[in-house]
Symmetry: none
Subunit: 223 residues, 2 copies
């Protein structure tokens, strides 16, 4: 999941970043509205977490601009205190959810995940893949009820492939979903590496990753 966090206070931003990254998101941070605009122009995000109070304007401005352009990226607003005004105007302008600070981090994680899931139209959290069952929220994979341990990166990769199972996903797209701008010096070879590692772990489970030369990879399920 590629995520943009727009939040100016250092401590808050840091805390949220750490949590979301641990939860497997490739997470970019913007400290100002201006930075956020640049990020949004260059990168497509799965979810945006947007603070309302920013040094150079209101988060709702960005929200409004994006919706005016027809961008439907799920956006979760953060508001410093419970303000009926903020809430009403946010939802009016097309925010998908909002959260009042201070909040429980697990709450934020759950809501972000819900937005991400809703975007893909998945109803339940767990996805059945032949003999495998994948739970992106809990970040677990099981083979016939037996846990099959994967690392953070492997799960991030698998998550994108599962969301697009049966369809080809380009290597660039996979890269963007796994690595944030901060990790931009990572080579494209890393994607190939994790594909290889995933393949090895998936083994003969009936789930395969097919290579489409020059186009990308596709997750196929036997039977």
């Amino acid at each position: 999941m590629r995520l943009l966090l727009v939040e100016d206070t250092y401590d808050m931003a840091e805390a949220i970043m750490i949590r979301l990254e641990r939860a497997g998101a490739a997470c970019d941070l913007a400290r100002t509205l201006e930075q956020a605009r640049e990020c949004v122009a260059v990168q497509r995000y799965d979810v945006i977490v947007l603070d309302i109070n920013l040094p150079d304007g209101l988060g709702t401005d960005l929200l409004r601009e994006m919706r005016a352009r027809g961008e439907r990226t799920p956006i979760l607003m953060l508001t410093a205190e419970f303000s009926v005004d903020d809430r009403v105007s946010s939802l009016n302008w097309g925010a998908d959810d909002y959260l009042v600070k201070p909040f429980d981090h697990r709450e934020l994680e759950a809501r972000v995940r819900a937005l991400y899931r809703r975007e893909a139209g998945e109803k339940s959290e767990e996805v059945a893949l032949g003999r495998l069952r994948f739970n992106p929220g809990a970040r677990t994979l099981r083979l016939d009820d037996e846990p099959l341990p994967l690392t953070r990166r492997e799960i991030s990769l698998l998550e994108v492939l599962v969301r697009n199972r049966g369809k080809v996903v380009s290597k660039e797209r996979l890269f963007e979903s796994i690595f944030s701008f901060e990790e931009t010096d990572v080579g494209m070879n890393a994607v190939e590496l994790y594909i290889a590692r995933l393949r090895k772990k998936l083994g003969e489970t009936g789930v395969r990753i097919a290579t489409q030369r020059g186009l990308g990879y596709r997750l196929d399920i036997d039977g």
Copy 2:
């Protein structure tokens, strides 16, 4: 698709070229207005991507010249920052679209493709060819829902034939749509080769490539 990119900054040009070429376009690069004029004089393009700020003038000058000559080649303008002036004058002078830098590369790809498609008057992205379905954007071909893998060149060739299905396309025209000036040392035999390879892959799918001796090739659909 034969495309001209007019862009002076090296990195930007490089990045765009790589993307568009991977997307199957035969892509010429002009670093100056002067170079661009030469290209346009010599070669017919399907789409032109034109930066406004160039070392020896404004992209809008070229736009104006071409429109004055009655050339209707789809042109997408690139502008360094959001300037209402640029936008208004570009669209006034007959630009077909514009994009503000920085942008998401997929956005550029999608817009270029939209212009190309519009030029041919295609409404939807996917084209039905008997039992085959061809999606030039995703660059996929399917036979009864089964993917039929083609290589980059094969798809580029097929794309031109499909756009002109039922009509004869000259070998020179096919050559120009597949190879850019940089690949000009490639022999005309290469077109024949790819025709042969395409024929082999198409097999008995009801889509045939007929040879019109001395004139070119024509894509026919049975039934």
